[in-house]
């Protein structure tokens, strides 16, 4: 099998499928299994790239989430009756807070609830971290409709900027510590925040300059009549949608008319806006293929999600019992389907195997 990158949309579909499965269950065994599958696939198929570091970052965030939820539950949370592990001095807040207590009895059930919720959130975070690490962000950008190109770029900049922000925070903190400046408290926060902000804004301006110098945002000319037509479509569609909204809500009016006006108006406006966006003439150097590895990747993720919807009972709103979680064999086998994306797909190319030097790549590296 020739090494190549799997289409980013396929990775996102796979990750969304795994996350949807994690949202569905509160069984600790199944959650751990989902995380294991996602980790295996990510480690097997990620490449050495800046965005691939997102996975480590997300892991840290996930662990922090678990810790935070558990600590918060101990200090401040809804009190579950059950086996008391620890008695803290505390008080119940007034009625309006909805049964939240400060301190008080910490029960094993409450801890289990917090741990499970934290782990579920952590599993979802790991799934999306995996999507971030596996999907080539600038290739993902190519599937954004032309009308949203500018915002697509901004979103990619935002997402790739986050690991850099973490890196610059750590660096500035170290610098402040070496200078003997306070790193805690309000002054420390100010000493951290202001340089981080300044540096980020500098970076944005530098990025903009480099985008400008590469001819970013050049527009093709479109005819006047074409512009007028798409503009009219957007306006008429929006007016229809506004009219439809209140016809849907108004109980005295005919709702079918409202639904048609709302849906039709939105469709017309969206079509007008998207067609108008074709003014930007953009060619792509390489087309990303969508072949059987993509079908397999996306399919395995979606299969897990669908299987969970059918085969795993929805226990998200159930109570918390102190017992060893037992996972049905069928659910375990279904989860393992997700591994196929990391086993049967082609390996990613080795670094340096193909020199990619496009402005987009630069953008991903410096954004």
């Amino acid at each position: 099998m020739k090494p190549r990158l799997v289409h980013p949309v396929a990775w996102w579909l796979w990750a969304i499928g795994m996350a949807a499965a994690a949202m569905r269950t509160r069984n600790l065994v199944l959650l751990a299994l989902i995380v294991a599958v996602v980790c295996y696939v990510t480690l097997a198929r990620r490449i050495d790239a800046p965005w691939a570091r997102a996975f480590t970052l997300m892991w840290r965030l996930a662990l922090l989430t678990v810790l935070f939820t558990v600590v918060l539950q101990i200090v401040l949370g809804i009190r579950y009756p059950g086996t008391v592990l620890l008695r803290l001095p505390g008080t119940t807040l007034p009625d309006w807070s909805g049964g939240i207590a400060l301190g008080g009895d910490v029960t094993a059930e409450a801890l289990l609830a917090a741990l499970t919720n934290g782990l579920r959130l952590a599993a979802i975070i790991v799934c999306f971290g995996s999507a971030n690490a596996l999907a080539h962000p600038t290739r993902l950008l190519r599937v954004v409709p032309a009308a949203l190109y500018e915002l697509g770029v901004a979103a990619v900049v935002a997402i790739t900027f986050v690991p850099q922000l973490a890196e610059s925070t750590v660096r500035i903190r170290q610098a402040q510590r070496l200078r003997g400046r306070p790193i805690t408290g309000l002054r420390g926060l100010r000493g951290l925040l202001v340089p981080v902000l300044e540096e980020s804004l500098e970076r944005a301006i530098a990025l903009a300059a480099s985008m400008d110098s590469r001819g970013y945002g050049r527009r093709g000319d479109v005819g006047r009549a074409f512009r007028a037509l798409t503009g009219a479509a957007v306006l008429v569609g929006l007016i229809g949608a506004c009219f439809g909204t209140y016809t849907v809500i108004d109980s005295a009016a005919d709702r079918t008319v409202g639904v048609v006006a709302l849906a039709g108006g939105t469709a017309v406006a969206a079509a007008g806006a998207l067609i108008a966006g074709r003014r930007t003439q953009r060619t792509s150097l390489r087309k990303d293929p969508w072949g059987w590895p993509e079908w397999l990747t996306a399919g395995s993720g979606i299969a897990v999600a669908v299987a969970y919807r059918i085969a795993v009972p929805n226990d998200v709103n159930a109570g918390y019992e102190l017992e060893w979680p037992h996972a049905p064999v069928s659910a375990v086998l279904l989860t393992v389907v997700g591994v196929l994306a990391g086993v049967l797909t082609p390996r990613p190319p080795l670094p340096g195997a193909r020199a990619t030097r496009s402005p987009e790549r630069q953008l991903a590296g410096t954004g």
Partner: protein, 279 residues
């Protein structure tokens, strides 16, 4: 709006709002208000009962499409590389502030970047930044779901409002932004309660006095919604509002200065001119 008129004012307009973009924002606001408040308006009267359940689904499907229309219109109005880069960087910053500052307790500082940025860089920029920050946050933390368009729209309103606040300087400006941050933080929670309240309240085992009732009158549902918000989310909304206001008071000054410096450096108002070569 001519270049001269823009540069004469103290504010920068990073993302110019053309007439069509304005109309699109107004239209999505009108539909958005409908999408948010339908539980208050719908279904009093027996014959509305079957349809009161499919109204939310229509909005769930159509609101994202309308957001696409607005985004396309805003981008079409001329979003240059500087606006795009600043949007990306500031959205990334807000997105990371949300989980790091603890979304669980409600002490979250997402609006702390959004409000000064909307103030300095204008309402159009504020609106797009609000949308994009929520989107990026969801993309990073896995917060995507049917609630995302509602969050994006509400955050967009907050950024837009910050750009439309009246002119003020020095302490008065900080105080104004802090009060706005407090109100926005609380209102955000209340408004976001609205659209899922009919689904959410039924499963929580709360007393009947706070759940949505399709048969009740507008006033009755309004008071039920307020009670629902106060009992469930106020303990999240108040800390969020207070944290935003406190952060603006404590760190807003250097933040505004840095943003203004960047806006000046980016020189959004100066049109690019290409002189013909001399020879």
């Amino acid at each position: 709006m001519s270049t001269v008129a823009r540069s004469a004012g103290a504010r920068t307009v990073a993302v110019p709002l053309r007439l069509r973009a304005r109309i699109a924002i107004v239209a999505v606001t009108i539909v958005g208000i409908g999408a948010f408040v339908w539980p208050l308006l719908i279904g009093f009267g027996a014959r509305g009962a079957p349809h009161s359940t499919d109204a939310p689904w229509i909005f769930l499907v159509l609101l994202p499409l309308l957001m696409v229309v607005v985004a396309a219109e805003l981008a079409d109005g001329g979003m240059d590389a500087k606006a795009v880069a600043l949007l990306g960087v500031l959205a990334g910053m807000s997105a990371i502030l949300r989980p790091v500052s603890g979304g669980v307790t409600g002490v979250q500082l997402m609006f702390f970047v959004l409000i000064p940025a909307g103030r300095v860089l204008g309402p159009g920029f504020g609106f797009v930044l609000g949308n994009l920050a929520m989107f990026a946050s969801a993309a990073i933390t896995g917060g995507g779901g049917p609630w995302l368009p509602f969050q994006m729209l509400a955050a967009g309103w907050i950024g837009l409002g910050a750009g439309l606040l009246p002119r003020a300087r020095g302490r008065a400006e900080l105080a104004m932004l802090a009060v706005y941050g407090l109100l926005a933080g609380v209102a955000y929670g209340f408004v976001l309660n609205l659209w899922f309240w009919p689904f959410g309240a039924s499963g929580t085992g709360l007393t009947a006095s706070v759940t949505f009732s399709p048969d009740a009158s507008v006033a009755e549902n309004l008071s039920r919604w307020l009670r629902f918000s106060v009992t469930t989310s106020l303990s999240f909304d108040i800390p969020r509002g207070l944290a935003t206001a406190a952060a603006i008071l404590a760190l807003g000054r250097p933040m505004l200065l840095a943003l203004r410096r960047a806006a000046r450096k980016a020189a959004f108002d100066s049109p690019a001119e290409f002189d013909p070569p001399l020879i």
